[in-house]
């Protein structure tokens, strides 16, 4: 394969300009309509009934009282709900049988003339259960743990290279530490919502989704319909972070309800039900063992994960995968173990695998740096591999060292006294930390259409989804660059399954996947225009493209984005409170296509990483089997006042082995490494190593006190 199959050349309207979001005005003025803001004539409202046992069977559903309430049109249960065909996602087999696999599983759905009536009806549905003992607690020694063949992303569950055990035993310096990450929740600002309308043999759905092509396809499969008879619109989406990647229960329930009642039906999940219904980041217990020579070069690396999944579906957070490519080591073991518990099904949350895995790995590297008394930036540089360790493939580009250097420079990393607990400001101890970040480069086949209209404009059609990232804007930039026309002459239609199907907004591959198809369509249109004489016909000229072939060809290169995150924290020696004072990230992610929206993505990811470090996390309640923290009062996420100084930078990375735009994904890498940078800075501030996220007072204060008393 030629390294650069789609030479772009220097475009007249270059990529990278900080264009503002095309729909920004609609969003800030409230005219942008989201899935729950469409109200067809005669619209009914649905409210789900969630199971209140952690495991068992539904023995009876008494809807008499609910149906007698005014304005109630239907109560769907497993006894009367439309039958669904099986799909690849058993979590969508809703109201099909009496099994309750976890607390919060939907067991009925009330439909009524108003939201209030639907909610009252749902509360009046009486469900009887045969409850069974439930097990919701993950431990690294859980007897149900097994080794999955593959983990999320399709990666092998276990990889062995060389002889880890012998090398680790022989290593002059070793580290053996176990890290834990609690369950984390996506909690996008817009809850999962859908408005579905079944009319004249057609199903129309407004859905809050990261990809309506996939929703359309799955609804067609579930309801045994022709995808051509379904339109799914996801025009504006208020975030997803992975939890809207594939259809979730709300859209299936809304479609069932409209099918059952014949009326349009709107359903918006209550915030408190989201953790059980839409996926979560599974907790991980991660053991990292590093063996190194006195020079800091790794000779042995093992990263082993224990995590949970549900009994509904196997989803394995691939937290040991990044250790396969981050650092050189001739002897390596990376392995996952998973136990199916009576918990909601985990799923994708921003940087699945990398976010929790790199917390452990990058904390361990920091611990090793302390053991060796080598600067943590320098230690990472000494372990830079020449080729991807797991595959021995060349990197298409790898500028981790550049990110570390530039980050250290911008952050003011040096001079740095490596000793912990020596920088005081009143009651505060201060420290700095660093961690590396990485995220793979993916691309998925997509199709797009480009049309030159008779009035001199251009129209791009592609079923991309804007989940808040600025997809419309960057696609207009890509089209303008390819067509060599000003971007304001380019109209972009996205967010409907009636458009040419395309990859969903996920895996940090939206822009690469859609943009490639758009670029290809635009280049084809340019060729058609070149061959065309005279004025354009009334319908314009159209070119279509898809990238099935390009995507299938893959790459002989190992392709990843890299970054380095630096953090300064303060720890209050009186209260144990840890706060981030400033954070700085430098990323090497190919060509940045819009510096304004890219910056938003980077600092958004870093902010989510700050949340992961300091405050996010829920607990599974052993008595009830649900997540204890289910709303935004109990599950803390960072607000503006928690994020003081945050900077994102990038280095100009030219990589000809990616796609015509030369871009890597940027949606997820910001969260990766951030939690480790903060935890490492906490160690530098206090000498306290916290291996269990988040870094809350209860884990720090007793050790601060012990240290003080020890010193006194």
């Amino acid at each position: 394969m030629s390294p650069d199959p789609f030479p772009l050349g220097p475009p007249a309207y270059p990529l990278g300009a900080p264009l503002v979001r095309r729909e920004g005005r609609e969003k800030v003025t409230g005219t942008a309509r989201y899935a729950a803001e469409h109200t067809p004539l005669d619209c009914a409202y649905a409210w789900p009934v969630a199971a209140t046992v952690a495991r068992g069977r539904v023995t009876a559903v008494d809807a008499t009282g609910a149906l007698a309430l005014p304005g109630v049109c239907a109560v769907l249960t497993h006894e009367n709900a439309p039958r669904l065909a099986a799909t690849g996602d058993p979590a969508l087999a809703l109201l099909q049988d009496d099994r309750v696999p976890h607390r919060g599983w939907y067991v009925a759905l009330a439909v009524a003339d108003s939201l209030e009536a639907a909610r009252a009806a749902a509360a009046a549905v009486h469900v009887s259960y045969a409850a069974e003992d439930a097990d919701v607690l993950l431990t690294a020694g859980h007897p149900g743990l097994y080794a999955p063949e593959t983990v999320n992303g399709g990666y092998p569950g276990t990889r062995e290279r060389g002889d880890f055990d012998t090398a680790f035993a022989a290593a002059p310096v070793t580290l053996d530490a176990t890290y834990t990450v609690p369950p984390l929740h996506n909690h996008p600002m817009e809850p999962h919502a859908a408005t579905a309308h079944w009319t004249g043999g057609r199903l129309t759905v407004h859905d809050s989704s990261q990809g309506s092509s996939k929703v359309c396809e799955d609804l067609a499969a579930l309801f045994s319909l022709d995808p051509g008879d379904i339109t799914v619109v996801s025009e504006h989406v208020g975030g997803g972070f992975g939890s809207k990647g594939t259809p979730r229960p709300h859209v299936v329930l809304a479609a069932m309800a409209t099918r059952h009642t014949g009326r349009p039906v709107k359903l918006s999940l209550p915030r408190r039900e989201m953790p059980a219904a839409v996926g979560h980041r599974a907790p991980t217990v991660q053991r990292v063992r590093l063996g190194a020579g006195g020079d800091g070069v790794l000779t042995a690396l093992a990263h082993e994960i224990a995590t949970h999944t549900s009994t509904v579906n196997e989803f394995v957070e691939q937290a040991a995968v990044p250790a396969r490519m981050m650092y050189t080591s001739p002897n390596s073991r990376t392995a996952h173990r998973v136990v199916p518990l009576d918990v909601p099904t985990p799923s994708w949350m921003r940087a699945p695998g990398e976010a929790p895995g790199m917390f452990a790995l990058e904390s361990a590297v920091d611990e090793l740096a302390v053991l060796l008394d080598i600067d943590p930036v320098e230690l990472r540089m000494r372990n830079e591999p020449d080729t991807e360790p797991d595959s021995d493939r060349a990197f298409s580009s790898r500028h981790l060292i550049g990110c570390l250097r530039e980050g250290a420079e911008r952050f003011g990393w040096r001079p740095r006294d490596p000793r912990p607990g020596v920088r005081r400001e009143g009651d505060l101890l201060l420290g700095t930390g660093v961690a590396a970040a990485t995220y793979p480069v993916y691309v998925a086949p997509s199709s797009a259409e480009a049309r030159a209209t008779a009035d001199g404009g251009f129209r791009i059609r592609v079923n991309a989804t804007d989940i808040g990232t600025g997809a419309r804007t960057v696609l207009a930039q890509i089209a303008a660059a390819a067509l060599t026309v000003p971007e304001d002459r380019v109209r972009v239609d996205i967010g409907s399954s009636d458009l040419p199907p395309a990859m969903l907004a996920g895996g940090s591959m939206g822009t690469a996947s859609w943009g490639w198809a758009v670029h290809k369509a635009c280049m084809a249109l340019r060729a058609r225009l070149r061959d065309h004489d005279g004025p354009l016909p009334a319908e314009g000229l159209t070119a279509a493209a898809d990238t099935r072939q390009e995507a299938a060809e893959g790459s002989p290169y190992a392709r990843h984005a890299f970054g380095a995150t630096f953090a300064e924290v303060q720890a209050d020696t009186v209260s144990g409170e840890v706060r981030v004072r400033r954070m700085l990230g430098v990323y090497a992610a190919g060509r940045i296509l819009n510096s304004r929206t890219a910056r938003s993505q980077f600092i958004g990811g870093m902010t989510m990483g700050l949340g992961m470090a300091l405050m996010e996390g829920s607990r599974l309640d052993p008595a009830f089997g649900d997540f204890a923290e289910r709303d935004l009062a109990a599950y803390h996420v960072p607000a503006c006042a928690d994020v003081p100084r945050i900077e994102a930078h990038w280095i100009d990375e030219e990589d000809p082995h990616l796609n015509p735009m030369g871009s890597k994904g940027i949606g997820e890498i910001g969260i990766v490494g951030t939690a480790a940078a903060v935890a490492n800075a906490l160690w530098h501030a206090t000498g306290i190593r916290v291996r269990d996220l988040p870094l809350t007072v209860d884990k720090i204060l007793p050790r601060l006190r012990a240290a003080r008393e020890g010193a006194g």
């Binding site: 992303g153 990809g211 994708w348 209260s575």
Partner: protein, 357 residues
């Protein structure tokens, strides 16, 4: 839906009368807690009596040098009021440490004192809770109680009173004015909130139909310094893990006056009398302060530890590489769970899969 009546009386007497005539009524102030609880199904009032527009919105100087704070004074206004900032800084600081700017703009003085616990079980009507449904039990005792009470709790309830303002008021020896069907009365803030005992459903000593009309602050102690300090999980906005309101006066290195109250530790703002006793007349040193804290916390007890001890990080000795490679049982649910994984991203709409493995 659950219909409820809405009344907007013109005066205090009318409001109190309306409450007497409407069993199951609740007074509505800023609504920042009550409306949330109604949405959760925890509160199901038949009638809301909106008292937010009653003429209780003033802050008055009293002849004795104290302040009378009307029940509907907004938290943000109270925090910003000059006499409060100048003479009772602990109160201003406590208010500003609570909630968010938006909430403080809406929340009232009376409502703040009457806000209910944020115990997660109390807020979930699908679970037992003695405070919400008397006699059903207290799952928090053995459950998730990291930020619940360590002082004054009972077998029936380990909830905490969440107000920051109340903690400062307790240290300031403030009084609460109540107006009920039987007339007016005054209760010390420290006596206003109850300990749970066997009636955790009763947060305060307020009687049915009584309206909280004002809070009275005694004259500020001349020469005393006051401070509110709150420890929390999130800098921007979180309830206290623990907080302390302190009014302290030291002369020649000796504590002459001390009033301390803790928040986040008990079912009521916890006036620390034992600590104060240690402090009074003692040298104002760190050692004294530590002894004072120890004296107060000698009675502190955690709610019981969850019976199923859970230490996820204990790595099994045989974990690697001897971990089994197959599920332990032939349990059908486990077998189902071993179905092929979904990839990082789902199959794209087009037939080929372009992602690298």
């Amino acid at each position: 839906m659950r219909p409820f009546g809405y009344l907007r009386p013109a005066g205090v007497e009318e409001a109190v009368r309306a409450a007497a005539e409407a069993p199951g009524a609740r007074f509505l102030g800023g609504g920042t807690n009550l409306v949330d609880l109604m949405k959760l199904g925890v509160e199901t009032p038949r009638t809301l009596i909106d008292v937010s527009r009653l003429p209780l919105g003033g802050i008055e100087e009293l002849p004795d040098g104290g302040l009378r704070i009307g029940a509907t004074v907004r938290n943000s206004d109270l925090a910003a009021a000059a006499p409060v900032r100048e003479r009772y800084p602990v109160l201003s600081q406590a208010l500003l440490a609570g909630a968010s700017g938006q909430l403080r703009n809406t929340a009232t003085t009376g409502g703040n004192l009457l806000q209910r616990t944020r115990c997660l079980y109390f807020q979930d009507p699908t679970k037992p809770c003695n405070k919400r449904s008397p006699g059903t039990g207290c799952p928090a005792r053995d459950g998730v109680h990291r930020d619940l009470a360590v002082l004054g709790h009972s077998a029936h309830c380990v909830a905490t009173q969440p107000s920051d303002m109340a903690v400062a008021l307790a240290a300031l020896d403030a009084e609460v004015h109540l107006h009920g069907p039987d007339g007016e009365r005054t209760v010390a803030v420290t006596d206003f909130h109850r300990l749970p005992g066997d009636r955790p459903e009763q947060d305060t000593v307020i009687r049915p139909g009584e309206l909280l009309t004002a809070v009275r602050l005694p004259p500020a102690a001349p020469g005393a310094r006051s401070r509110y300090r709150k420890v929390r999980d999130r800098a921007s906005f979180a309830f206290a893990l623990v907080s302390v309101a302190a009014v302290l006066e030291a002369r020649d290195g000796v504590v002459e006056r001390a009033a301390l109250a803790f928040g986040g530790l008990a079912h009521r703002p916890w006036r620390a009398r034992a600590a104060e006793e240690v402090l009074l007349g003692a040298p104002a040193t760190e050692d004294t302060f530590a002894r004072a804290a120890d004296a107060e916390l000698a009675a502190a007890r955690c709610a019981t530890t969850p019976s199923r001890s859970h230490s996820p990080a204990t790595w099994p000795s045989a974990c690697s590489p001897a971990w089994r490679t197959r599920p332990a049982t032939a349990d059908p649910t486990t077998a189902r769970a071993r179905r092929r994984l979904r990839p990082t991203v789902p199959d794209p709409p087009s037939p080929t899969q372009g992602r690298e493995p």
